[in-house]
């Protein structure tokens, strides 16, 4: 915690100003005062404390806070702006802040702060749009590689009492993981697609059409940016420096205009030389109930494996009619009754202590999410198009990989929205329950390792270090679930804990602790047989992509 002192020192100052404060006060002074006090009590003061700062001055129409660390100051600002979006969504009186952050010499008293650093932060705040955060180049240099955010250069600005112009950056937080924020927007691009197609913009090569699409897309981006931070930042957790400053403080998608033009037929979007997308699987005769929600599994009954050939895509063309409303193919789910099971093992410190968990009924994907399934989300412009690589999955029937936890969360948010079914990531306990398939042995088939039961390094004769096998190539476990122990490491909902001390016993996701890292379960094709054990656990930074990380969905 910062200790207030009466002498000059260097610190980071966050200056916040409430937009239209005087209008709010003249409309309803008591309500405005009460509302701002409430914001301070519930959002602003706790955020400052959490980021080891000090509320230095309440200016009435805003506040000044002092931090030791520029990084914490920016994180605090992002937290506040994000929380305010949520609060404003269910309040008739909207409170929107502009925030500026700079570092420099300050003189701090018990309830006041002055000096150059404070002045500069207040000036920077003036460059920020409503709900935005502006930082100086000095702050930018110290935080640029340490935040899940992009930075947009607004160019050099002259600040009062400073001789040299200062480069100002706007912080564009990566809110993609906030499902709440993403969901309402996730369908917008599809609406745009439909609109464009319906007005006959079939020939996207036409320059005029491209221009129109670009204008509409830009407008869409502006509209979305005005209300909430959006998918624009979704797949860029890297730092983008010095975007050309736009006319106003508006987020411009980093992609070139051509990308904004929606493809006339979504399923065809940027298909690499890969076989048909899963969409084409639709007419595939699945026998009984078309996309069955589930085959109820009551007991650990061994289900004979489906030959993978049966899943091979039949070369049936997707219906050409009404391409804009192409139905989303839902993943095949296995419904599980749940019950108590012993989670963990003594094989690794991270898997201890073995503890009993009571699992509620739930459904889990029969397979990991495939490349083809992912492409549906890409076509809907709700998931990142990760392009192709010479390593990793190379076929629509391979599990999708090179995904961060945030990518996986975006997919389930899109799938839920597109299908109106509530898809999510499994909890870690649900995942292990499903992977064990009712067994308590080291592997689901017994305590001894057996060759050719999984795709991993040293597990099979046909091991390819560059890519996984097709989904469904190995025997399913007794619950009829495929590939839980191999192919890709699978993201689950839980935050990382180094062992199970204090773990929930009700099967819910454990969402306290180190949430910068999320749990990965199951081994990938590159891991050794130790990772094939259903109790094995690992973790990774939630925002970072790696070429063996994928996921499966739950309900």
């Amino acid at each position: 915690m910062v200790q207030p002192k009466g002498q000059s020192r260097r610190a980071t100052i966050l200056a916040a100003h409430i937009v239209d404060f005087s209008t709010m006060m003249s409309t309803d002074e008591p309500a405005t005062t009460a509302l701002i006090t409430k914001h301070h009590q519930e959002v602003i003061d706790p955020a400052i404390r959490e980021h080891k700062g000090r509320l230095a001055k309440d200016t009435g129409n805003g506040f000044l806070a002092e931090f030791d660390s520029p990084l914490e100051a920016v994180r605090c600002a992002v937290d506040i702006q994000q929380s305010m979006i949520e609060r404003n969504s269910d309040s008739s009186l909207r409170t929107v802040h502009r925030i500026g952050i700079d570092l420099g010499a300050i003189i701090a008293g018990p309830n006041d702060v002055s000096g150059h650093g404070a002045d500069a932060a207040m000036r920077l705040q003036g460059f920020a749009g409503p709900g935005d955060i502006c930082i100086s180049s000095a702050v930018y240099e110290l935080v640029k590689n340490k935040l899940d955010a992009r930075f947009q250069s607004l160019g050099e600005k002259q600040i009062e009492n400073v001789t040299q112009p200062v480069r100002v950056y706007r912080v564009v937080p990566d809110f993609a993981a906030t499902v709440k924020a993403v969901r309402p927007e996730s369908r917008a691009p599809r609406r745009l697609t439909a609109a464009l197609i319906s007005i006959g913009v079939g020939l996207v090569v036409a320059a005029g059409a491209s221009g129109l699409a670009w204008i509409l897309f830009s407008k869409q981006q502006r509209d979305r940016q005005a209300t909430a931070p959006t998918l624009a930042a979704a797949d860029t957790h890297n730092v983008t420096v010095a975007l050309p400053p736009p006319a106003s403080s508006v987020a411009v998608p980093t992609s070139p205009p051509a990308v904004a033009v929606p493809p006339p037929l979504p399923p065809v979007a940027a298909a690499p030389p890969a076989p048909p997308v899963v969409l084409e699987q639709k007419p595939l005769a699945k026998g009984p109930p078309p996309p069955p929600k589930a085959s109820q599994v009551d007991m650990p009954v061994y289900v004979p494996p489906t030959p993978s050939a049966e899943r091979a895509a039949t070369a049936v063309q997707p219906p050409i009619a009404a391409p804009a409303k192409a139905a989303v193919i839902e993943p095949e789910m296995i419904s599980l009754r749940g019950g108590a099971f012993k989670m963990g093992s003594d094989d690794d410190p991270s898997e201890r202590p073995i503890h009993v968990v009571a699992i509620k009924p739930f459904s889990i994907g029969k397979f990991p999410v495939s490349v083809g399934e992912w492409k549906q989300c890409v076509a809907a412009k709700a998931c990142a198009d990760l392009g192709s690589s010479n390593v990793g999955p190379s076929d629509a029937k391979m599990p999708m990989a090179n995904l961060s936890w945030r990518d996986a969360k975006q997919y389930v948010a899109w799938l839920s929205d597109a299908t109106k079914h509530n898809y999510r990531l499994p909890s870690e306990a649900e995942w292990e329950y499903a992977a064990r398939g009712g067994t308590q042995t080291r592997f689901w088939w017994g305590n001894e390792f057996i060759e050719n039961m999984a795709d991993c390094n040293g597990c099979e004769k046909a091991y390819d270090p560059y890519r996984p096998t097709m989904i469904g190539s190995f025997k399913p476990n007794p619950f009829g679930i495929y590939d839980m122990s191999s192919l890709v490491n699978e993201w689950v909902e839980d935050c990382w804990h180094k062992n199970y001390a204090g773990a929930p016993a009700d099967g819910a996701a454990w969402e306290t602790g180190d949430c910068g890292q999320r749990v990965l379960r199951g081994g990938a094709w590159r891991n050794n047989s130790n990772y094939v054990r259903p109790s094995n656990r690992d973790r990774y930074d939630a925002t970072v992509r790696y070429f063996t990380h994928g996921f499966r969905v739950a309900q």
Partner: protein
């Protein structure tokens, strides 16, 4: 952490023999090293391992900024690095894709080796690979 302890010679392993398939170039004078602990240190309990890098910058995974990469810490790794594949990820190959320059490490008692390897945006080793000397520590 599983340990695979065996005889090994400091600084002799992990230099690949084939050229990198990905082959992101890096400054010739870049130097990667472990600031702390020192080779031969005896350490009680968990410790902060600090990563040093000269003449290059640390960035996040996914960032293709020139002359920049992110750290990977190899613990008790014996296998040769394959530059045609991304750096492995498991309990012996820790990734620091958010641009971390230090990490809290907890190892079981005994001798362990530590080595840093710098990865590019897609976690591939650079060309030529940038690796630190291997150090050996003893956790007591």
């Amino acid at each position: 952490m599983r340990t695979t302890r065996r005889l090994f010679v400091v600084g002799s392993v992990l230099w690949p023999t084939v050229a990198s398939a990905q082959g992101t170039a890096r400054p010739k004078d870049a130097y990667l090293y472990i600031i702390w602990p020192n080779n031969g240190d005896r350490i009680k309990g968990a410790f902060w391992c600090r990563f040093g890098l000269r003449n290059m910058n640390v960035t996040q995974a996914g960032s293709t900024a020139a002359d920049a990469g992110h750290h990977h810490l190899f613990i008790d790794v014996q296998e040769r690095l394959d530059p045609s594949l991304p750096i492995p990820q498991d309990k012996n190959h820790l990734h620091f894709g958010k641009g971390q320059t230090e990490a809290r490490i907890e190892l079981p008692p005994g001798r362990h080796t530590l080595q840093l390897v710098l990865g590019d945006a897609q976690h591939f080793p650079f060309n030529p690979p940038l690796v630190s000397k291997v150090i050996t520590i003893t956790v007591v």
